[in-house]
C-alpha cells in the first residue's frame, strides 16, 4: 500500500515529467516552425533570385538581338517596354521584401534604349519601320554598356541574400 506521501511524490514526479514533456514538445514545435520559416525564407529567396536571373536573361537577349540581327525599330522599343515593366514589377516586390532599390536597373531600362534609339541608323529606319542593322560604332557602345552594367544583377542578388 502506498502512503499519502508516496502518492504526493509520484504525483510530483508525474507533474515534472509532464512539464518536461510539454517543454520538449514546445521546443520541438518552435524548432520545427522556425525551420519551416527558414525553409520558406530560403525558398522565397531562391525563387526571387531565379526571377532576377530571368530578367538578366531577357536583357542579354535584347543585347544579343541588337548586336546580332537586323530588327525593326518599333519592335526594339516594344521589347524594351515589356522587359522594363516585368523588371519593374519584380523590383517593387524585392524592394518591399529586401529593400532592393527600385531604380537599380534604370540604366538597362533607359540608358541602353537611348544608345539603341538615338543613332543615325535607327532614325533612318524608323519612319518605315524597316529592318536595319546597327553600325559598328553603335554595337561597340552597346557591348561596352553591357560590360559596365552587367554587375547590377549581382548587386540585386546581394540585396536578397544579405537580408
Amino acid at each position: 500500500m502506498l502512503s499519502p506521501s508516496d502518492w504526493l511524490s509520484i504525483t510530483g514526479i508525474a507533474v515534472s515529467a509532464i512539464g518536461i514533456a510539454v517543454s520538449a514538445l514546445v521546443a520541438i514545435w518552435i524548432v520545427d516552425t522556425l525551420q519551416k520559416k527558414l525553409d520558406l525564407t530560403h525558398q522565397l529567396k531562391d525563387h526571387f533570385s531565379k526571377e532576377v536571373l530571368a530578367v538578366r536573361e531577357q536583357y542579354r537577349n535584347l543585347v544579343r538581338d541588337l548586336t546580332g540581327s537586323s530588327q525593326r525599330p518599333k519592335q526594339i522599343v516594344n521589347n524594351f517596354k515589356m522587359t522594363g515593366i516585368y523588371a519593374n514589377d519584380l523590383l517593387k516586390l524585392l524592394n518591399t521584401q529586401y529593400g532592393t532599390p527600385t531604380e537599380i536597373l534604370q540604366p538597362f531600362q533607359t540608358e541602353l534604349l537611348s544608345i539603341a534609339t538615338e543613332c543615325e541608323e535607327y532614325n533612318n529606319a524608323y519612319r518605315r519601320n524597316k529592318k536595319f542593322q546597327y553600325r559598328k560604332v553603335t554595337i561597340e557602345a552597346i557591348r561596352e554598356f553591357e560590360k559596365k552594367h552587367d554587375r547590377l544583377f549581382y548587386d540585386i542578388l546581394m540585396t536578397i541574400y544579405n537580408e
Binding site: 524594351f80 519593374n88 538615338e118 535607327y122 532614325n123
Partner: protein
C-alpha cells in the same frame, strides 16, 4: 487636368524629330503639350501627364524632346510646380526626366540654346518675364 499620351494623343509615339517620324516628340510638343500646359498655367492648375496605357513603348528621345521643350519655354521652376508625370508601369521614365531632361533643358534655356525644329510649326507659348507670349519662336529653315 489629366492628359494620357497614349489615349489623348497617339497610341504610337515616335522619336525626337518630325523629320524622322510621325507623332515625334517635336510634334507632340507643338501640336498638344505647349497649348495644354499653357491652359493649365493660366488656370493655375497642375497638369497630370500620364505615360501608361497602350502597347507601344516610348523612345527616350520622344519624352526628352517634348518635356525638354516645355522646360525651355516655361522654365524649370514652373514645370516642376505645375507638371506631374504619372507612370505605374514604367516609373523609370519619371526618374529619367527628372534627373536628365530637366537639368539639361534648363541649362539650355539659361544659355539660350533653342531646340532644333525639323519642320514649320505654328505659334506657341513661351514665358517672358513670367508672362506667356505666343509667337513663332524658331523659324524653320532647310539647313536645320
Amino acid at each position: 487636368m489629366t492628359f494620357n499620351i497614349h489615349q489623348d494623343y497617339s497610341e504610337d509615339t515616335g522619336i525626337r524629330h518630325s523629320k524622322y517620324s510621325e507623332t515625334s516628340g517635336e510634334d507632340f510638343y507643338h501640336d498638344k503639350l505647349n497649348e495644354i500646359f499653357y491652359g493649365c498655367y493660366t488656370r493655375n492648375e497642375v497638369l497630370e501627364l500620364v505615360l501608361d496605357g497602350g502597347d507601344d513603348g516610348y523612345t527616350p528621345s520622344f519624352l526628352d524632346e517634348s518635356i525638354g521643350n516645355l522646360v525651355y519655354d516655361f522654365t524649370l521652376d514652373v514645370v516642376k510646380t505645375m507638371l506631374h508625370i504619372v507612370s505605374d508601369w514604367e516609373p523609370y521614365w519619371i526618374d529619367e526626366i527628372e534627373k536628365k531632361t530637366y537639368p539639361k533643358w534648363e541649362e539650355r534655356r539659361r544659355k539660350g540654346e533653342q531646340a532644333t525644329i525639323t519642320k514649320s510649326h505654328g505659334a506657341w507659348y513661351r514665358l517672358i518675364n513670367g508672362v506667356p507670349e505666343k509667337r513663332v519662336w524658331i523659324v524653320y529653315t532647310e539647313e536645320q
